[in-house]
Symmetry: C2
Subunit: 184 residues, 2 copies
DNA sequence: TCCAGTCCGTACCATCTGGTACATGAACCA
DNA sequence: TGGTTCATGTACCAGATGGTACGGACTGGA
């Protein structure tokens, strides 16, 4: 199953199209027309609409996971996701996430890649910084929730400054707790 | 424009149906068949598919806002939303949220009700407890983000205990900061 | 009695949907 | 040269879609 150059070109264009207007609400024909091909070609290369959705999910998850590796500093990571250029990616991610919640195409794999894998990675970072294994997972979960929750806010309100302020406030809470470990 | 008893009965059933399997992926005919009517009736009472979606959005937002008033204690509020009985509501909420992100039916009203109104309400509570106006909004935003982010996690993983632990950790961070106001 | 309004069923419409059949061209390898 | 594989275009299919036309049943009021 060679990735096939044509298929990859098509996938890239389809993702680009999905970034505008989402993918769930678009038919194969709409996507095809928008990227200058026929729905026949999408079916040829991806087998079915479902196949295209799965391919797009994988692309998004890979892209998102790539960001995880590039930035270790939480502030830089958050800035990357809240950059207006990343908004279409974020929106598409949320759409696919919601779709997966209702058992859409490959939802288990999607959540594995977009939730578990993230918690694992964030927890590993915390362990490397000296946090003990058990509470690292709890903190990682909270970190992820804060980021995703603020992203939901940002995509809806587009109030980037306010969202950033809330994130800084969270970092401050975390920093304070680190300086002064919880007594009792 | 009397609400019309028949319309209300139909809406209630349609929401019930939307809680299972979502609404975006279902056609008028599918919904109608599932609730024992014809798609003709849905169009008669809601004008269009769009009209039905808007009606469902309003129902969800009212239900969600109702919970806000009932519980002032953040822990009780969070428990309410993370109760397995509430999961279908949560899932539907996320689906409609994602739909609104791509300019779906009445997205501005939806975000107004589901984001701004919540931040306002949470901030008001904080002000009543003595927080100053400016930082109350920042904290409220973070509160909401934590809740929504953990909800995303919960709906995907269904690991309620772990999610609760992360929430408790957050309450602890907040509590610590309150006891010991940030120096410097 | 007739009229108006609400509610709903049947039948229909044009359009769009994902998917398929078939032919064709280009590229490679023998 | 001929055969094979990949890629693509055209045309088609059955079924589903949102929406409409029309008519009938029931109600309450005049």
């Amino acid at each position: 199953m060679a990735p096939s150059q044509a298929r990859e070109r098509l996938l890239e264009a389809a993702v680009e199209q999905a970034l505008h207007g989402g993918i769930i609400g678009q038919s194969l024909r709409q996507v095809a027309a928008a990227i200058g091909t026929s729905h026949r070609m999408l079916l040829y290369h991806f087998g079915s609409r479902e196949g295209l959705l799965v391919a797009i999910c994988n692309t998004i998850n890979e892209s998102v996971a790539g960001s995880l590796d590039r930035w270790e500093d939480p502030r830089a990571l958050f800035q990357h996701f809240t950059d207006p250029e990343a908004w279409p990616w974020d929106r598409l991610f949320i759409e696919l996430y919601a779709n997966a919640l209702f058992g859409g195409s490959g939802s288990e794999e999607f959540f594995e890649a977009s939730v578990q894998r993230w918690i694992d990675a964030l927890a590993r970072q915390l362990v490397e910084q000296g946090t003990d294994e058990a509470s690292a997972r709890v903190q990682a979960r909270l970190h992820l929730a804060v980021a995703r929750g603020l992203l939901l806010d940002l995509l809806a309100t587009e109030e980037r400054d306010e969202v950033n302020r809330a994130f800084e406030h969270y970092l401050q809470l975390v920093g304070q707790a680190a300086e002064r470990p919880p007594g009792v």
